[in-house]
Symmetry: C2
Subunit: 222 residues, 2 copies
Amino acid sequence: MRRLYHLPFDALSRKVRILLAEKKLAFTCVHEPVWERRETFLALNPAGEVPVLVEPEGKPIWDDHAICEYLEEVYPEYNLLGTTPDQRAEVRRLVAWFDKKFAQEVTRNLVGEKITKRFIAGATPNSGAIRAGKQNVHYHLDYIGYLSDQRNWLAGENLSLADICAAAHISAVDYLGDIPWADHPGAQAWYARFKSRPSMRDILKDSVSGIPAARHYADLDF
Amino acid sequence: MRRLYHLPFDALSRKVRILLAEKKLAFTCVHEPVWERRETFLALNPAGEVPVLVEPEGKPIWDDHAICEYLEEVYPEYNLLGTTPDQRAEVRRLVAWFDKKFAQEVTRNLVGEKITKRFIAGATPNSGAIRAGKQNVHYHLDYIGYLSDQRNWLAGENLSLADICAAAHISAVDYLGDIPWADHPGAQAWYARFKSRPSMRDILKDSVSGIPAARHYADLDF
């Protein structure tokens, strides 16, 4: 069976989980506490980071980007990267937008401070970073609203890895109740459409001890 | 003419410059001081970051990863990503190794502190970060030595984007004289082979005012 070493609130892991589900590929999730630096895990990925995908009888694949490109190449049936080089460049541009900019300006400041730091001995959340994350998120939600106003999905006519990637980050932040949906109806309409997909079901069941999910987290009509 | 917006000591920009040269694609470089946030540049890439590739009559492409994948798709003649999904996964794994781990542990601590910070008003180099960078580089050079001992090039039999990416980071650090070659003959042998390629010629001419290049920087027999 295909295995994915992951952390439930790691956005890059979520991206791969949603992608696997969209491609209707069966897999089991292995929760990997990377901060323990387990030797058997380091043997799979010397970089010590998740996500790592292990195909049946296959070599471990890391990082998230290599996994997504691999899955697209080997299982092209449900295309999520686009059919022309220009389309794929646009999908990959938006993936970079969320995995780099959104990650740095929002996800790290909110999920990183409030959730990830719980697992690091002696670390305390930085309130300045949390404030910055809450400010920065508005601009990104505006951008999502703008894109989904111009296009059917974020990168064009069809659902793509760009939507998956955006939903991966946003769902992790939304667990904390830190997405100000009321101010961003365009982004909310896009996320409502995405959230109702079967590929999101497992994501919406995730929880972390000591931090209850925002009340609307798993609600499809939020 | 194809244009690349770049910064000379940005490793991700260097990666694209070397890739373009390996693919024998003509291009002009546009030096883009991203800290000035020029409006005409933000219109090309709202993320405000380099590298950005603009193909003749084409849309701007960002980020570095999207550019490399695009060039591989559109100009496949000189293949630098591998010919099977497994090979490409290995190339992309090593690209992630250098663009994530090496970048965070070495490039940012040395090039970021000593060069990039010169352009940010009021910023001063962090001596702790510089010390950490000088420590961390040993482990990465060992890894390069290990890989090139097992294989002809870093990712396998053929030269690939993994070598290009490693050379992009290492060349930027080497400008500062911060690669301890004497302790790492395996890595040195690999870099000596790569450095003599025509694709490195422009890289070895780069300079930054106020910081002279290490004496051996452009020397092919170092």
